[in-house]
């Protein structure tokens, strides 16, 4: 399997806070890689560094065989990296369709407006937002805004999709819908790197999981291995009974 993204010894600190320490891992094409860790473990920071929002203090990031460590978010978008944010960022005064068109126009394929409109409608259809296409994005509810985040990222036809807690804040039926959407995306051949707190979903959906704690990678493996890893159980779950419950779910 080819390596799509390779992260080596990534280190980032904000003032005295060591947010990431020597984090290394690879993402293979077509995989779903899960990223878990307690609050404040540095998960979103890791996304921000990979995404070019922050530059790392040390270490390197190679995406599609090119060193992208110092590139800007828009350079990475053009290369085929797209992202759905944890805290949704809708373009409120634009319509839902226009929001998605921004992703299609300025993403990997650099489409014209008219082509982007077609892509936007297709993507909206697939995430179930087509009937809202002409509404202002600001008028959507939170579940719809999460779908919009996803639709914008997908419209860029990325190679790698970064999903930051797309399930958080959704009710159980919305979660099921979203998980199906993730499966559909993977079926299209898009590689996914996702942060999630919902263990059940994560254990089911991921091919591999890495675990961060205080900015360090403490485990890397198949979902089953992660659930049995004593270090993960201690550092991340704290409570052994919780681990049993987790195993039961998986």
């Amino acid at each position: 399997m080819t390596v799509l993204l390779s992260v080596q010894n990534l280190t980032k600190h904000f003032g005295g806070l060591q947010a990431l320490t020597q984090v290394s891992f690879d993402i293979h094409e077509g995989q779903i890689l899960g990223l878990i860790g307690p609050n404040g473990a540095g998960k979103t920071t890791l996304f921000n560094v990979i995404n070019g929002v922050y530059h790392p203090d040390a270490g390197s990031i190679v995406f599609k065989n090119r060193d992208v460590t110092r590139l800007k978010p828009y350079d990475l978008a053009h290369m085929g990296m797209a992202r759905a944010h944890q805290i949704v960022r809708p373009l409120n005064e634009l319509t839902v369709r226009e929001n998605v068109m921004v992703g299609a126009c300025f993403g990997r394929e650099n489409l014209s407006l008219s082509k982007a409109r077609g892509v936007a409608d297709d993507v909206l259809e697939s995430v179930g937002l087509y009937i809202r296409a002409d509404q202002l994005a600001g008028s959507l509810n939170i579940a719809q805004k999460k779908r919009l985040e996803m639709a914008r990222a997908l419209a860029a036809h990325p190679y790698l999709l970064l999903l930051d807690e797309v399930l958080a804040g959704l009710n159980p039926s919305e979660i099921d819908g979203m998980i199906q959407t993730v499966h559909k995306i993977r079926a299209q051949g898009i590689t996914i790197f996702m942060i999630e707190h919902l263990m059940k979903a994560m254990m089911n959906i991921s091919d591999r999981i890495i675990v961060l704690d205080y900015g360090k990678k403490i485990a890397d493996g198949m979902p089953k291995e992660i659930a049995n890893d004593p270090q993960v159980i201690e550092a991340y779950l704290g409570d052994p009974r919780m681990a049993e419950k987790l195993l039961g779910e998986a």
């Binding site: 921004v102 992703g103 982007a116």
Partner: protein, 327 residues
């Protein structure tokens, strides 16, 4: 034709705006009255300035308090070329536009990294800095400025003719600024600008090359003010730092764009007509004539508080049927 359609150039919405400018501009052409021409000249000038500012404020979401610097610098460049280098008006107008565009380009690289209030403050600083520079720059006449030799107008069929000519040119520029606004609003570039306005970080992550897009928005919003700056001071016959870089004029532009509706094409036209109409009333009224700027300030406050989307936004909201023609 297809290309035109893609830019939305054949939609009724564009023609509403074009018609509004023509209706505004046609009066003096019929009456041939010089005083009416002067009144409309000022309104059309405000239309061009406000619609240019709209590219930055309305589409990109950046507040510039010093936009008049492009008008003043264009005026100075053009007048210098006409009076000291004997350039014809046409080339001078173009040069005025280009000098403002160049300043905008350099500023874009330097200060568009600032966001929100910091950018707004920086634009005031730029206006004051350019004014101070011109005040001490001898080729531009320093604090006394420059005065055109009356003979210059002979080349344009005498002073009276030259004044009419500047009016025609301005009318064309007003139409040009409407086309420019429309083309931007209906282009991919414009979509990128609006994405920046709504959420700059999200736009960047989606692939909008924000530094370039913002710089070009600033350049496009500076060209026409530079050109009509030359035109105005040519008509005026002289230029001084105090007249060219009036901060209060910058703030009035903001009020006008917000009054009409930021981010809309028709907005700056409605705003210019409404505001200038109000100002003429205030200036001639014995009660208000000394406090007309405070009234403008109050007006800005009321707009921001109660109709943030301006007149066009208000109309679109309350009369959805108008959505197709009012953009």
């Amino acid at each position: 034709m297809k290309q035109l359609k893609n830019f939305g150039l054949l939609t009724p919405a564009l023609w509403v705006s074009i018609l509004a400018v023509l209706l505004l501009g046609i009066g003096p052409l019929i009456s041939r009255s010089a005083s009416q021409r002067e009144t409309i000249y000022i309104i059309l000038q405000v239309v061009v300035l406000a619609a240019s500012l709209n590219i930055l404020l309305g589409y990109t979401g950046y507040v510039s308090f010093g936009h008049i610097v492009f008008f003043g610098l264009g005026g100075y460049t053009g007048l210098y070329l006409i009076s000291a280098q004997n350039w014809p008006l046409w080339s001078a107008v173009l040069a005025g536009g280009l000098s403002s565009a160049l300043l905008a380009f350099l500023l874009g690289k330097a200060i568009l990294r600032l966001r929100g209030a910091y950018f707004a403050l920086a634009t005031i600083g730029i206006n004051e800095a350019v004014r101070a520079f011109v005040n001490n720059f001898d080729p531009f006449g320093g604090p006394v400025g420059m005065t055109l030799n009356f003979k210059v107008y002979d080349g344009y069929g005498g002073a009276a003719n030259a004044l009419w000519m500047t009016y025609y040119v301005l009318l064309v520029m007003a139409l040009a600024v409407i086309f420019l606004n429309f083309a931007i609003k209906n282009s991919k570039f414009g979509l990128g600008l609006m994405a920046i306005r709504e959420n700059e970080d999200a736009a960047e992550v989606m692939g909008v090359v924000t530094p370039n897009a913002k710089t070009w928005a600033l350049v496009l919003s500076a060209i026409l003010p530079g050109m009509i700056g030359t035109l105005f001071f040519f008509k005026n016959g002289n230029i001084e730092p105090g007249d060219a870089f009036r901060l209060d004029y910058s703030i009035e532009m903001l009020v006008i764009v917000m009054l009409g509706g930021q981010g809309s094409v028709l907005g700056p036209i409605l705003g210019a007509v409404g505001y200038e109409g109000m100002r003429n009333f205030l200036l001639t009224s014995p009660i208000f004539k000394n406090i007309q700027l405070s009234v403008a300030g109050m007006l800005l406050l009321v707009i921001v508080l109660f109709i943030p989307a301006g007149a066009v936004g208000w109309l679109r909201k309350h009369f959805p049927a108008l959505k197709r023609v009012l953009v």
